[in-house]
Symmetry: C2
Subunit: 150 residues, 2 copies
DNA sequence: AATAAATGTCAACAAGGCTGACATAAATTT
DNA sequence: AAATTTATGTCAGCCTTGTTGACATTTATT
């Protein structure tokens, strides 16, 4: 059993998400807000349904977090042009700023970890991650343009 | 910004921990119970303080989860021999069985992901994980013997 | 004998998951 | 045109698993 992979995966993720926690708390936000900010920054104009699919949470859970982000001016919703039922999500200038602040420590942690690897290290790690994702969701990774280095 | 690493890390961890969720629910347990089972299986005889340090949660949070595991016969506590204040944690036969059931799908997912990598792939991934962990906790990884393949 | 350490316990609270029910506007189908 | 489906929102209540603070017990250390 690859117990070492399981354990190190746990520790690595624990410290990866922990980076932003102190900063988030100052805004009265939590990890759920961070995840939304990440995806809204990554692909501006994403409809609510896509975000639900990605986060694999219920619309009621998302609604709570999203409302706080909208009310505080970090995210804005625009009616879709082709389908006017959709609410497309965009980070505001303020939202992009917060996301960059939250990402700063995560970025240096990731870059340092990759810099210590052999030449093809980053590609190998990314391929491992893709391999861990449910096959039916791998197309989503492509659509989000997360697999362009592979 | 290594946005791709952040995103793929999220998806990979989401599906990794998701594997056990359905099985856990049948026992009335959650992810917190799984984490405890993992470490107690990995290093039997671990004192409570070490587990608190690893999980980075409060003793009150751990106590609730631990009590359920003990009450249901998955974990047992033995008084430490050298220091009789300690309660050393051991998985029972039942606890080891549940852990193996929970790990089965995770194990195949990990092994498939690694099999698709180049020869040194597993080492590279493990080194990345270690690099993501807080330097002050890397000694703990060694003590848990999670870094033996490196 | 006094203090510190390892653990447990009670109580109250918060974040962020969940379900179920219902509402509205816009698109699609019949 | 009417009926249905889709995308989204909202209200209400529940659960797990985090949190803090206070206090108790047993054992080790000073």
């Amino acid at each position: 059993m690859p117990l070492d992979v399981m354990g190190l995966f746990f520790f690595a993720y624990r410290d990866f998400v922990g980076d932003a926690d102190a900063l988030l708390e100052r805004q009265g936000f939590g990890r759920a807000h961070h995840r939304v900010l990440y995806f809204v920054n990554l692909r501006p104009g994403m409809p609510v349904a896509d975000l639900l699919d990605i986060l694999k949470i219920t619309k009621q859970s998302l609604a709570r977090v999203l409302r706080q982000l909208v009310d505080n001016g970090y995210v804005e919703q625009k009616t879709g042009e082709t389908d006017r039922r959709q609410r497309l999500l965009y980070a505001t200038e303020k939202g992009r700023g917060l996301f960059e602040t939250l990402s700063a420590t995560q970025t240096s942690r990731i870059e340092a970890a990759i810099a210590a690897l052999p030449p093809e290290g980053k590609r190998t790690v990314l391929r491992f991650f893709v391999g861990m994702v449910e096959p039916e969701d791998r197309g989503l990774l492509d659509r989000l343009k997360l697999t362009e280095e592979l």
